[in-house]
Symmetry: C2
Subunit: 276 residues, 2 copies
């Protein structure tokens, strides 16, 4: 018997993967959580029916959410990751010797636990002595933090369920206050092919708070359309150039850093209304 | 009843689309040909079970196979497209006033006919007076042409069935001869996530023939992994920079031109063995 897992990425489109084994499928207090072992992408973390990360292509997302800000900031010491309970973003952040503290605020403890159990290659960084894992509401944590972080990464799920508040104007304003005076934000902002309204609104909200706002792109096979966007908000540093020594990566490099900001016309047109 | 069309992109992975209507499904002398109307991507041309082009995302592939060479060549007058019977690459080529002749050599007449009938937005360029459509074997046409073309685009299907010969060393050597002394080749060379051996061999074969060989990338949602590669072979002009006046495009622009050559580490590592 062949078992195929199909994610309906939109009402009219799906991605379907041949499954070796379902390793875990539970209801957490926040969401439906599954870890599936697939032949194409290895182990896959699925939340509320949406693929979050896979062993085979996780490197793109985790490197690209982390290294743009980590490289563009001249001396990132204190870093916060909101969401990202799998630990992949943290693993990239602690590649920098400048980092003194890396805090993960994940609302759903089961994401951290299941990632530690089933995705050790992704969650490996969580045991680093500089890392502090808080099981808590990221929105509340950000609200209570003032001038504390050099870099904040919003590694959220899609804006449904627990992540809705992570795309709000209030939240971005809270992040601005939680950052030091030269801090930088990066938020994942979905697909420019399929989530155009979301990108427009997240971009304009971040832009209304941060003096420098830029969108950049990366190619992630298991995410809808394969093309993914991230939005940087920066208090003073130009986000488009890496300043740090290179760290070991499989996707990111200084050319990719610049190239990620070279937006196709249909993407930059998305933002133009917000640029005026 | 909901009808879903599933393309098995690899033995372990598929893309599945909700179908409005199957407009045409025939056996041609060369392949199985279908035109399906899907809710997500509009009309879709499928050859031997592989999505070739769709109304919604065709602009990426057709712009990116055409404009890199058309912009990097200072004065492209005579252009050949091998394959590409849908007409999308030709539509982009004839956007340049410098073009005096654009020849399409497609082996399968049914691809041209069905594209004219069902995909008028893609095939529109085929009626331009500068365009010459030959229903013939592209390999033979290339072999018989000497010093004739400024730019040759190899817009092939996957290297199975009629397209196998379009990835051979002999064919690339033939293209070198068919080009003028400052000519350029661009060939589609599949996904860097899923077709690593093919990229390696196509790149090394083109490199053994052309003094300048470069790989570049574009994001195409309906192609396996969403990330696609093209390989340029150039007799003298640097491929990485556009020299022409801008033409109207939805994906391509001069920043995208440069950014497309900024390769992630896992892609440039693919080519390194060939670089030594």
């Amino acid at each position: 018997m062949e078992l195929w897992y199909t994610e309906k990425q939109t009402p009219n489109l799906g991605i379907t993967c041949l499954v070796r084994e379902t390793l875990c499928h539970i209801k957490t207090p926040f969401q439906d959580l599954a870890v599936i072992d697939t032949l194409q992408f290895g182990k896959m973390l699925v939340l509320d029916g949406m693929v979050q990360t896979t062993e085979q292509d996780e490197f793109v997302y985790h490197e690209m959410i982390a290294h743009i800000a980590m490289q563009a900031h001249p001396n990132p010491k204190d870093v916060l990751v909101v969401g990202g309970g799998d630990g992949g973003a943290i693993r990239e952040v602690i590649k920098y010797d400048s980092v003194e503290s890396a805090t993960l605020v994940e609302i759903d403890e089961a994401v951290v636990e299941m990632s530690k159990k089933y995705l050790p290659g992704i969650s490996v960084g969580l045991s680093d002595p500089r890392v502090n894992v808080l099981i808590a509401d990221g929105i509340k944590h950000v609200k209570e933090s003032v001038g504390k972080y050099d870099v904040i990464l919003v590694d959220s799920t899609e804006p449904v369920g627990p992540a809705v508040g992570l795309f709000s104007q209030d939240f971005y304003a809270g992040i601005y206050r939680a950052l030091k005076k030269d801090g930088m934000l990066v938020a994942q902002t979905e697909s420019p092919f399929f989530n155009r309204d979301l990108i427009r609104s997240a971009y304009s909200r971040i832009k209304s708070v941060f003096p420098l706002t830029k969108l950049y792109l990366a190619s992630i096979p298991t995410y809808p359309s394969g093309l993914w966007s991230f939005t940087v908000g920066s208090k003073c540093y130009e986000p488009e150039e890496g300043k740090q020594k290179p760290v070991e990566t499989k996707y990111y490099n200084s050319a990719v850093h610049k190239g990620a900001f070279c937006l196709p016309n249909f993407v930059s047109e998305l933002l133009e209304a917000e640029e005026r």
